[in-house]
Amino acid sequence: MELVDTKTLLPKWRNNLGLLENKFNDNIIVEKLDKLLSWSRSTSPWFFQFGTACCAIEMMAAAASRHDLMRIGMIPRSSPRQADVMIVAGTVTMKMALRVKKLYEQMADPKYVVAMGSCATSGGPYWQHGYHVLKGVDIVIPVDVYVPGCPPRPEALIEGLLKLQEQILEERPLTRKMA
């Protein structure tokens, strides 16, 4: 049997950096630390899998085949402790409101909230004659992005999440704020 040099079996590009690989000398990037931080935050906002009503199904559809939220770096997490973004998908009732607040408080900073659907943004069709529905989730927790629709299509949700990413990208967490 002929001995093969195992090194030839290695893939051509070991680190999967494509054309850039092994092309440079020792390299540095000059960039503001602020921007680097917010860039890295914005590209992987893991979201909190928290569906309450109809919109949850569209959120599932957005995360599953065809729409695939992982393309924009969003992975569903079941625990608030591991999540950066809370997508409030669906109606929030009085009974649920206190739990929503508790779940929000359990999330680690920095944290963002996306209100998905009419119910989460404004109470939807339910507040007018009802007695048990919160008129928008922003009564109990602060909201960063509102996605209207009843329910919003997965495309609309993705648009909202991209808006959130833009918003995160503009943050300057280290810069001293002017009084």
């Binding site: 949850a56 559809a61 599953a64 085949s65 009732t93 009974k95 069709p125 009843c150 329910p151």
Partner: protein, 373 residues
């Protein structure tokens, strides 16, 4: 040595938990790993459906029925309009009836796909979920083609439909059915005969027939317990008596009759029957007929009440409508099948392991929107 009793522990599952299919809270008392009792707490999604119905007109109730069971909006519409048409003594033409049946059966397939996929997900099978959602999207495309909405349609109106079928719908549906039929066997290979899945579901959470009846469990859950009871066959509404289809019942293929595996498999078989019905309905659908023909100008039902049941993907969906002669319902009660299905969980899950509770919950295929209304 006697049997050592563990310390009793109270464990809260939910209201935010990936396996509770929404906002449901289960208070589980366990003795070690064995479940001694379960107390479900519901109402985290109580959206005052019945109060709304007393404030809006009969037509305006339809969008609210959509949002009750958001996985099967078409059948929720269907049940309501069938009840109202019986109350108002409206007869709709044959084309409308056929379109309704096609939509309801496609919706049943879509609902079962998501239900089965989520059941697999609860047990840890992620791949079938993606496969099933991929095929569900195709059904949603058909609905979107018809009425523009993906999830909540407001498609069936009292006395007709909101839109006629678009050009090319029938061909697309045939194409979908041809594509989908062999896919069912794919699921069967992925899950139904999967060793791990069978271990997790066969002989688990057995629901005897008398328990099911006493708890008012209906639909696939009841049929899995071996009782051939399907309102489409036993109390046919609309034009279901024209079609030929089987009512699949649980036979205990991998364990005993009425276990989680049976509840899963009955739904798989039901999808096949739904395909049969859709094919027959498409074949016999009349070409002409105005879908707005019998829309009433004013909806003021005579004084009195009606209780009408239809078969939704989750079981007997009943509407109790009381009219006082005005254009607003005096009282409207929805008897939701998932409500009764959830109430049985304490009875059938006690004595099983904690990990089985989620398998049992998944097999019941509940939708919280309909339980809490």
């Amino acid at each position: 040595m006697g049997i050592i009793r563990g310390e009793e522990m109270v464990l809260n599952i939910g209201p935010q938990h990936p396996a509770t299919h929404g906002v449901l809270r289960l208070q589980v008392r366990t003795d070690g790993e064995i479940v001694s009792s379960i107390t479900p707490y519901i109402g985290y999604l109580h959206r005052c459906f019945e109060k709304h119905c007393e404030s809006v007109t009969y037509e305006q109730v339809i969008p609210f029925t959509d949002r009750c069971d958001y996985l099967a909006s078409m059948t929720m519409n269907f049940g309501y309009v069938v009840a109202m048409e019986e109350m108002l003594e409206i007869k709709v033409n044959d084309r409308v009836q056929h379109i309704r049946v096609v939509m309801a059966e496609l919706q049943r397939i879509a609902s079962h796909l998501l239900g089965l996929g989520a059941f697999g997900l609860d047990i840890g099978a992620f791949t079938p979920f993606l496969h099933m959602l991929r095929d569900r999207e195709r059904i949603l495309d058909l609905f979107e083609m018809t009425c523009g909405a993906r999830l909540l349609y407001n498609y069936m109106w009292i006395g007709g439909l909101s839109h006629d079928l678009p050009v090319g719908f029938v061909e697309s549906t045939y194409k979908f059915l041809d594509y989908f039929e062999p896919k069912i066997d794919e699921f069967v290979n992925l899950l139904v005969h999967n060793k791990i899945f069978v271990e997790r579901t066969a002989d688990i959470g057995v629901m005897p027939q008398d328990v099911a009846i006493s708890y008012g469990v209906t639909g696939p859950n009841l049929r899995a317990s071996g009782l051939k009871w399907d309102l489409r066959r036993d109390d046919p509404y609309s034009i279901y008596n024209k079609f030929e289809f089987e009512v699949p019942v649980g036979e205990g293929g991998k364990g005993s009759v009425g276990d989680c595996w049976d509840r899963f498999y009955v739904r798989v078989l039901e999808m096949k029957e739904s395909i049969k019905i859709v094919r027959q309905a498409l074949a016999s659908m009349p070409k002409d007929g105005d879908v707005h023909q019998s829309l009433p100008k004013k909806i003021k039902p005579p004084i009195g009440s009606i209780y009408k049941r239809t078969e939704s993907p989750r079981g007997d969906l009943g509407y109790y409508i009381e009219s006082d002669g005005s254009n607003i319902p005096y009282r409207l009660k929805m008897r939701s099948p998932a409500f009764t299905a959830l109430s049985v969980i304490d009875e059938i899950a006690a004595g099983w392991l904690l990990s089985d509770v989620l398998a049992i919950l998944g097999s019941l295929d509940i939708v919280l929107g309909e339980i809490d209304r």
